[in-house]
């Protein structure tokens, strides 16, 4: 199942699932289920649905296993009845099914007031193409991004004032679904809610001067600053729940600039697997439901992970099971 946050015709932020090419409002869908299948009084159903299927994706994810069970139940119910009527409504009259073109998709977790951990240099292409000094075995570089830098599909990336060269990179994003610390690799995937796409934008000129045989300081001091600029982290368009991607180490990804493929690769090349990243990160840091772990820029020797972009470019990051994350760069 693919879930998203969207703005409906009334301008409200809601959560939805993609069901048979439409977006189904999950909160309204659960309301209908409660009244028509579970015999709940319509007056109570609205309140119960907003608690069990909140319109905030972060709040839903924080319900951990219970939220995930309600998600499955609601989606199964909507799929069952979707064949009968084309447009569904909840008992108080809220619209449930929308055509994709009727809504504005937002970044899937707009309330991401938790944390964003961006892992870097996690593909061997970095070392081979750019001569980057690799992290030690079993480890990776990590920088924290900021909820205020995140934008959704279709939103504009703003060209910065302090960088002359900007790069874009496609990454598999992991959305944590359960709080945990010192999580062993063997159990790591139990802590995942789903997967999304991250377009990691960097003001790379700020870091130039780092490279083979050169002194890496002081440039290495500026990693966070080069990446944390406003709008520099498009995330979305959907979260594919983890059942949709049974093996996170076999996911093909592509990055296109103005329709031309610039980066391409597969998560099987990761230096640290998703399970290892979760173990590594959670040693002394508690991971929380709703956190985003972006697993590093994907690339190969032929299609390296960093693509230079400029004002006017349209960037599309794509992972088949998640969708296409399209953003333009504006001055």
């Amino acid at each position: 199942m693919k879930v998203a946050s969207f703005r409906n015709h009334a301008g409200e932020v809601r959560i939805g699932a993609e069901i048979e090419g439409s977006i189904a409002d999950l909160t309204a869908g659960l309301e209908k289920y409660l009244v028509e299948e579970a015999g709940t009084d319509p007056q109570c159903a609205v309140e119960v649905a907003s608690e069990r299927m909140p319109t905030s994706m972060l709040e839903l994810i924080r319900r951990e296993e219970e939220g995930q069970a309600d998600l499955q139940l609601t989606a199964a119910y909507i799929s069952k009845i979707a064949g009968k009527e084309k447009v569904l409504f909840s008992p108080p009259g809220d619209k449930i099914t929308y055509g994709l073109a009727e809504v504005t998709l937002l970044t899937p977790v707009p309330q991401m007031y938790s944390r964003l951990f961006n892992m870097e240099y996690n593909y061997p292409a970095y070392e081979k193409v750019y001569g980057t000094i690799p992290p030690d075995d079993g480890t990776t570089a990590m920088f924290m991004m900021d909820p205020e830098t995140v934008i959704g599909p279709g939103a504009d990336i703003k060209w910065p004032a302090t960088a002359t060269e900007v790069t874009s990179a496609v990454e598999l994003g992991v959305i944590i679904g359960k709080q945990g610390k010192r999580i062993p690799q063997a159990k790591a995937l139990d802590y995942i809610f789903g997967y999304t796409l991250v377009n990691d934008i960097t003001g790379i000129s700020i870091l130039r001067g780092m490279g083979p045989g050169r002194l890496c300081l002081p440039k290495a001091f500026y990693f966070t600053r080069a990446m944390i600029m406003d709008t520099f982290q498009p995330v979305g368009p959907f979260i594919a729940l983890k059942d949709d991607i049974p093996d996170p180490q076999d996911v093909a990804a592509e990055l296109r600039v103005n329709g031309k493929v610039v980066s391409e690769g597969n998560t099987k090349d990761m230096r640290c697997s998703v399970a290892r990243l979760i173990e590594f990160l959670s040693q002394d840091i508690t991971l929380e439901a709703g956190d985003l772990v972006s697993t590093g820029a994907i690339g190969t020797l032929k299609f390296p992970p960093e693509a230079s972009v400029k004002v006017g470019d349209v960037i599309e990051a794509e992972i088949g099971k998640i969708g296409v994350l399209r953003n333009s760069i504006v001055a």
Binding site: A141, K181, C216, F221, F223, R225, D230, E288
Partner: protein, 332 residues
């Protein structure tokens, strides 16, 4: 004003202002002010005080100039009528003034979610670490997680990823106004106040990976955020001193004591990039929001280096005179 967040006798989180050795509940005091000094109907006063003087420090800061004006009004009202030994109540029955020992002080902004820490920001630090410093006017910045933040008297939990745990003591800047592209000349207009910020690091996560004198900084520099971000690794508090309390933020003495013994001593005049420049540098392409914390980098001197080693059992006290003493306990 010295502002704090605290947990009262009924376990609720409130915001308060220090008046001598007491703390006044600002929301309750504002309600009293509205009814008794401003003629607002009792029925509306409770709701109005919750909106204008919310019990969440972050929500108050987000009111920017209007919140600041209300704060000044309520402070001058309550500090005039508070007397020792007399307990005041709001019209709806909330206790207003508490002895400092009656309440549990929390970190001043428990809802803080954006924390920007500065590194390598004084010459003593450059010498101690033996690193190539950031270029003139530039600075090292990394983020910490909201889960790093703890308050006064809280426990710092010893990590598993390393055993060389070091403390730094810093002037923390609380942003009071949304802004981007802020010039040095305007920078202090965006400051709400200052806190004591105690920044801990698992040093061996960096140094094991070859960060240090005579070596290339990589891969060590890849782990700065990781080494700094263990849960509980940034006590912040005990109060926010509003900026009028610290007229010159480039002349502030800082001290860190471990088990009563002074280990770190420094003054903010030694900052390589001063507060104004930090705000300009960081806001060039990134928006600041009210409630953001900039921890301006560990200070120190050659005699009292900017790093102090701490171990389980230690009592650590970070102090800035006009703000207060931030005491924490390192536990295994």
């Amino acid at each position: 004003m010295k502002l704090g967040s605290f947990r009262n006798h009924s376990g609720n989180i409130r915001i308060g202002v220090k008046v001598d050795e007491q703390i006044a509940d600002l929301t309750a005091a504002f309600e009293k002010y509205l009814v008794e000094d401003s003629g607002v109907d009792r029925e509306f006063a409770e709701e109005a005080s919750n909106t204008r003087m919310p019990t969440s420090m972050l929500d108050l800061l987000r009111r920017e100039e209007e919140g600041w004006a209300d704060l000044n009004t309520v402070y001058s009202y309550i500090s005039n009528i508070m007397k020792k030994g007399e307990v005041l109540f709001s019209p709806s029955g909330d206790k207003i003034n508490y002895g400092l020992k009656e309440v549990r002080l929390l970190t001043p902004i428990p809802q803080m979610y954006r924390i920007f820490n500065i590194g390598v920001n004084c010459e003593a630090f450059v010498k101690m670490a033996g690193v190539t410093p950031p270029e003139e006017g530039y600075t090292c910045m990394f983020k910490k997680t909201p889960r790093c933040i703890i308050g006064p008297e809280d426990e710092i939990k010893y990590p598993v990823s390393g055993g060389d745990i070091e403390s730094e003591t810093e002037l923390g800047i609380i942003i009071g106004k949304k802004g981007r592209h802020i010039s040095q000349a305007d920078a202090l207009d965006y400051v709400f106040g200052y806190v004591v910020s105690h920044d801990l690091v698992v040093m061996d996560v960096l140094s094991k990976a070859h960060f240090g004198p005579g070596r290339e900084a990589l891969p060590g520099a890849y782990y700065i955020t990781l080494a700094k971000c263990p849960d509980t690794f940034q006590p912040v508090g005990p109060f926010i001193a509003t900026k009028d309390e610290i007229p010159d933020c480039q002349n502030v003495d800082i001290e860190l004591r471990v088990n009563g013994e002074p280990k770190i001593r420094g003054n903010t005049r030694d900052m390589r990039a001063p507060v104004r420049r930090l705000i300009e540098f960081l806001s060039a392409d990134m928006t600041f929001y009210p409630g953001d914390l900039i921890s301006s980098g560990g200070m120190g001197t050659e005699e009292h280096a900017p790093h102090a080693f701490v171990a389980p059992g230690d009592v650590v006290e970070a102090e800035i005179k006009n703000i207060g003493v931030l005491r924490n306990y390192v536990v295994a």
